[in-house]
Every structure is written in structure tokens, then in C-alpha cells.
């Protein structure tokens, strides 16, 4: 490896820096440095009127310096862990529902003719053309108590003698909107994977005695594992930190970590605790990503 670099010409070295430099700088300024600031902030005291307390204070009576108070606070009360677990469950449910819905769709698109394939992919990414908040507001109208959907459901429930329900401001509404937002992120990597499968492998499986069911579970499904893992990561990671959907469509009990963090910074103005929650969320996500990467490394051993 080093040998190759030794032989590199000066112009090639400049090109390499020109190409990798801007994204590196971007990540350094907007991810690495803020990350360090967040870690640092999580070990400080909150300022009297928001922000952070000073590191050194002239008056020893005021709060100053470093502390692990926020972490003690987090682990001292189960209510925060509960929000974490609830967010985790919501994100996991979103991922699984997206997977179950996206897989047949991606398979259908991948096995369609070339022209139809492009049209269908266009339809899949069409929701991206409008702002997702507008979509969420649309769901508020669709799921609203006066809207046809909720009314119809309640009439049907009434037939069976079940009490009417409210869709809006419920976990169901949050779930529906989360799936709506993240479905394309599952379809895209799955389609990209399935489209690359060599159709001759299915011929070979059939030739060797596999029926349609066996061809799917023995060939298509195991070969699509990298796509499943990629899609799941793309849905799960942003979903666990989501705050706009539960804020707008969820009830008071449906808050997720994202809402909690947002509340610390903009509501109670407790920056250190907000930072702590953000750091713990990041660590939790990294843990999940690490586990998934390990699993997919085992599944994708042949790649």
C-alpha cells in the first residue's frame, strides 16, 4: 500500500486532495467539531437563562466547571429510558413495516421490463418532490376526526358495537406517517440489489428442482440480504431520531427521543441535558449499526 503512494506523482497527489478535500472539510466543520462540542457540553452545567454555565466563575457560589450530573439524571429516572425504548420500538416497527411493504414492490419493479421499471421508480421517488412537512399536514387532514376515513372506521366499529376511535394524535397516525416518509428509502436499496441479480440463477434453481417458493427463499432472499440491511439502516437510523411526525400527529404520550432533545434545547433550555440525550442516542444508533454490520458481514460473506 505504502509502495503505491511512494510512486504517486505530485499531480496525482494534488488531485487526490482536491477530490477528497472539500467533503473532508465539510465533515470536519459540520460533524466532527460540533460532535466534540456536544460531548463537551454534556459534561457542563446549564446556564441560568439557557446555554451553558461558565467553566470558571468569579463567584464560587454559581454553578461552573465539569460534571456528570446530566448522566446521573438520565440513568436516575426510568422515564427517559422508557422514551428510548419506545422510540426504538417505533423505529423498529417502521423498519419492519417498510420492509414488508417495499420488498414485493422492489421485486416487482426489478422484474418488470426496462421502460416500466423507470416509470415505476419515478413514482417511488415522486413523494420527494414535495416537502415532507406538507405530506405530514396532508396526513393530519386525512386522519382527522371529521375526515371520511375516520368516520367510516367508526361507523364500521359501531356495527360491531365497538366504541369509536380517534386516528389523529395516536401512535397509529405516527406509524402511518413514519412509513409514508421512509418507504422510498427501503425501496431504493432493495431495488438496486434485486435488479442486479443474475436471472440465470433462478433458471438454475428451477432446473435443479426448486419450485417458486424455494427459488425465492433459497436464492432471491439470501442474495438480497445486503439490500435488506442497507434499506433497514436507511430507515431505522433517521426514524429513531424523528421528532416532526410525533410532534404533529402523535398524542401527548407518543413523544420520541427526538422530541425530548428538541424540548431540552428549545423549551426548557437545558443544553447539557439535551446534549447528553443526543450523545446517548448517537451511541445507541452506533451500537445498532455495529450489530447490523456484523450480521450483514456474516450474511454477505460471499460478496
Amino acid at each position: 500500500m505504502s509502495e503505491r503512494h511512494d510512486k504517486e506523482s505530485p499531480s496525482a497527489r494534488i488531485t487526490r486532495w482536491l477530490v477528497s478535500g472539500p467533503p473532508l472539510l465539510f465533515l470536519l466543520l459540520l460533524v466532527a467539531i460540533p460532535g466534540v462540542i456536544m460531548v463537551f457540553a454534556s459534561f457542563r452545567y446549564p446556564g441560568e437563562f439557557g446555554g451553558l454555565a461558565p467553566l470558571v466563575a468569579a463567584d464560587p457560589q454559581t454553578l461552573h466547571g465539569l460534571t456528570i450530573e446530566t448522566y446521573r439524571f438520565f440513568f436516575g429516572d426510568f422515564i427517559y429510558a422508557e422514551v428510548f425504548i419506545k422510540s426504538f420500538v417505533m423505529a423498529l416497527a417502521t423498519t419492519l413495516i417498510c420492509l414488508v411493504m417495499a420488498y414485493p414492490l422492489a421485486l416487482l419493479i426489478a422484474r418488470s421490463s426496462k421502460q416500466i421499471r423507470n416509470l415505476m421508480m419515478l413514482l417511488v421517488i415522486l413523494p420527494f418532490t414535495s416537502n415532507f412537512l406538507i405530506g405530514i399536514y396532508a396526513w393530519m387532514i386525512i386522519l382527522g376526526p371529521q375526515a371520511a376515513l375516520n368516520q367510516t372506521i367508526n361507523v364500521l366499529l359501531g356495527v360491531f358495537g365497538i366504541a369509536p376511535v380517534q386516528l389523529l394524535f395516536s401512535p397509529v397516525a405516527v406509524m402511518i406517517a413514519m412509513v409514508y416518509v421512509y418507504l422510498p428509502f427501503m425501496v431504493l436499496p432493495l431495488y438496486t440489489n434485486l435488479e442486479k441479480h443474475d436471472p440465470v440463477l433462478l433458471d438454475a434453481a428451477q432446473d435443479l428442482g426448486a419450485n417458486a417458493w424455494q427459488r425465492f427463499w433459497r436464492v432471491t432472499f439470501p442474495l438480497s440480504q445486503p439490500g435488506i440491511f442497507a434499506g433497514s439502516a436507511l430507515v431505522f437510523i433517521p426514524a429513531i431520531g424523528m421528532f416532526a411526525v410525533p410532534e404533529l400527529l402523535g398524542g401527548t404520550g407518543d413523544i420520541m427521543i427526538g422530541n425530548l432533545i428538541k424540548e431540552q434545547f428549545l423549551g426548557t433550555r437545558d443544553w447539557p441535558f439535551g446534549s447528553t440525550l443526543a450523545i446517548l442516542l448517537t451511541l445507541a444508533v452506533l451500537l445498532v449499526v455495529w450489530i447490523v454490520a456484523r450480521l450483514s458481514a456474516r450474511g454477505g460473506r460471499y460478496a
Binding site: V200, A204, Q206, D207, A210, V219, Y302
Partner: protein
């Protein structure tokens, strides 16, 4: 009864008849080859036997039973694909035992068959490897073992050696012949490489534009092509326009404009006055000075136009006095001597009276 029979099978794609009224009969234990240029329909025939395509007309019969309603996965017929189509997520052992698992065989049974199959193709040491860790020849052997492991009635090979380099291909040809003899399973091989077809097959069907041109043993196909397509497609051949002058006892007397008479073996269905070509293989043509060739019935004057030195042999192109060009192949058996005759040399060419064949227009 033949093991596999195709009766007037036709397969159309739109207006194009990829396979046009083909009838073939393949015997049990045979190494049968479908030989033809690309696009001739040979692969479509193979896919109909395998069950990936279905005939628009005609029947495919196995042991006298029509296969029309039997899907590919239910046919006792396995295929070795051109690209091998090994499952990349399965090891060599898992690939080979795949058909056994699909058939829900007992685990002990699977282990035994797998062990035998691995030994048969000398891959015992590679059982735990993945396809991407194998060489081309090893992949080929895994594909063969996988297709043979639960002993199909028929093994189809679709251009199976095409992806290998020349030297490896020759080795695999020998292995394939030995394997077929060992397992005794009927092989149907599809190729566009005529040399390969001649080397491997018991019988060859030459396919052109969806039709069968000729079905014969390799030596007969090479020696007695039925028409100009077969003659031209298999091996090298020189064709000289000629007319049948006289049908004699055991011989045909052909007249070639500006050259004279050629004597060639008697053939059925040829009458005096027929027009066509006289076709002769380069290795049947001899070159020499007058005295050496005097004993041959057919001999003519010519001039060496070009010489292609190929190591083991040299190919001479000789211009005859009437302007036709004839190819002659001479073995370079004398060490260090490549050029027996120089370009431009005046020489004599000749061939025996039982060489060559007359083909109708």
C-alpha cells in the same frame, strides 16, 4: 425407444421461427451435440428440453412421454449453464447438494451423494469454498457435479466450455468424455465450436436457421457433409464449381471448366448433368513435383500463392490454371523444414480418386 425425442417441434418469437419443424431422436447413453452458429436455434431447442421454453407446435418426449405439462423443476433433466450459474451465497458443498435438498432427501443420503460427487470431480478439498474463490475449471466441475448429483436422465450442457481458455478447454473435454462414460448419463451438448463437437460427440446434429441440416457421427459428418452449409461450417474445405459428366461404376466423373476431369466416389441421388461443387478437405490434397503424384487419379498444375506456417502443419494456397484456388495442408514432420515449396513455385497438386465429395447447388 429413444430416450428423448423431438417431434416436429417449432418455436416462434413473433414472426421469427427460432426452431422450425425440428425432429430429433437421442438414444440413452449417447453424447449428442447440437452444433450451429449463434442464433441458429440450438439454445432454444435446449431450453425446450429443459422446460424453460415450450414448443408452439410439436412434442418433446422423454421415454415416450410428452413433457408439455411438466415444468422445468419436475423434469429429470439438469443443465450446466454457460456461466455455470453457481449460487454465490452457497459453498461448493451447498451448491452440489442443492438438488438433493430440493428433492427432500434424507440428510445421510445427501452426505453420501455429496461425498461421491465431490470425489468424482476431484473437489474434496474445496467443499467449504465459495464460488468466487474457485478457478474457471473448478467452477465448471462444481456445475457438473451439481447437475449430476441426483442422477438425472439427461444432462444438458449449454456452451459449457466456452468460458475456459484453450488449454483448460482441452483438459475439460477429456474430463467430460471420461465423466460421461463413467456415469453413463445421456449428455446433450450445445456448442458453436465445431472442433469441440467433433472431439466430444457420438453424434452431432448441425442446426442452421432453426432447421436440422444433418445428423451423423463426427467422422461421417466431416467426411460426407450432405450440403454446402455443413461442409463449410465443419472444418476447412475447398469448393470448386463442377458439373457431373458421367456416373460410372463406383465413381463420379466431374467436369470443371478450364481444368478438366475430376474423379470422385459415387454418391446416391446424383445424375449426369447435375451442377454443384466439388468439395475437398485440405489434408486430402497433396503437393509435389510431377513424378510424385503420377499415381493419383486427379492431378493438376498450379502455383503456390501463399503459405501459412502453423507449427505442426503448413497451409498452402495453390492457384490452379483455371483461376480456382485450392488449399492443401502438409504436416511439418521433417524437423526444421517449414517451407517445402516457395511462394510462386510451379508445382503439381493431386488427390486420390476416393477423396472429396460432390455437393448440389
Amino acid at each position: 425407444m429413444a430416450l428423448l425425442e423431438l417431434r416436429n417441434v417449432t418455436r416462434r418469437f413473433g414472426d421469427f421461427a427460432a426452431v422450425d419443424d425440428v425432429s430429433l431422436s437421442i438414444e440413452a447413453g449417447e453424447f449428442f451435440t447440437l452444433l450451429g452458429p449463434s442464433g441458429s436455434g440450438k439454445t432454444t431447442i435446449l431450453r425446450m428440453i429443459a422446460g424453460f421454453e415450450f414448443p408452439d407446435a410439436g412434442q418433446v418426449l422423454l421415454d415416450g412421454k410428452d413433457l408439455a405439462d411438466i415444468p422445468a423443476e419436475k423434469r429429470p433433466i439438469h443443465t450446466v449453464f454457460q456461466s455455470y450459474a453457481l449460487f454465490p451465497h452457497l459453498t461448493v458443498a451447498e451448491n452440489i447438494s442443492f438438488p438433493l435438498r430440493m428433492a427432500h432427501r434424507e440428510p445421510a443420503d445427501i452426505r453420501q451423494h455429496l461425498k461421491d460427487a465431490l470425489e468424482q470431480v476431484h473437489l474434496d478439498a474445496k467443499a467449504g469454498k465459495f464460488p468466487h474463490e474457485l478457478s474457471g475449471g473448478e467452477k465448471q466441475r462444481v456445475a457438473l457435479a451439481r447437475a449430476l448429483v441426483n442422477r438425472p436422465r439427461l444432462l444438458l450442457l449449454d456452451e459449457s466450455l466456452a468460458a475456459l481458455d484453450a488449454k483448460l478447454r482441452e483438459e475439460m473435454q477429456v474430463e467430460l468424455i471420461n465423466l460421461q462414460r463413467e456415469v453413463g448419463i445421456t449428455f446433450v451438448f450445445v456448442t458453436h465450436a465445431q472442433a469441440e463437437a467433433l472431439a466430444l460427440s457420438h453424434r452431432i446434429a448441425v442446426i442452421n436457421r432453426g432447421k436440422v441440416e444433418q445428423v451423423d457421427e463426427p467422422a461421417r459428418l466431416y467426411g460426407f457433409p450432405r450440403n454446402r452449409f455443413v461442409a463449410d461450417f465443419i472444418g476447412q474445405i475447398t469448393m470448386i464449381p463442377a458439373q457431373v459428366e458421367q456416373v460410372g461404376h463406383g465413381h463420379l466423373h466431374l467436369k470443371v471448366d478450364g481444368l478438366g476431369e475430376i474423379v470422385t466416389p459415387l454418391q446416391q441421388g446424383v445424375a449426369a448433368g447435375d451442377r454443384g461443387v466439388f468439395a475437398i478437405r485440405p489434408e486430402q490434397v497433396r503437393i509435389g513435383v510431377q513424378a510424385e503424384l503420377a499415381e493419383l487419379k486427379n492431378h493438376f498444375s498450379g502455383e503456390v500463392l501463399s503459405l501459412l506456417y502453423q507449427g505442426d502443419v503448413s497451409v498452402y494456397r495453390v492457384g490452379l490454371t483455371n483461376g480456382t484456388m485450392i488449399e492443401a495442408l502438409l504436416p511439418n514432420s521433417a524437423p526444421g523444414r517449414a517451407e517445402l515449396f516457395k511462394v510462386g513455385a510451379e508445382i503439381r497438386v493431386g488427390w486420390r480418386h476416393d477423396a472429396g465429395v460432390f455437393l448440389h447447388e
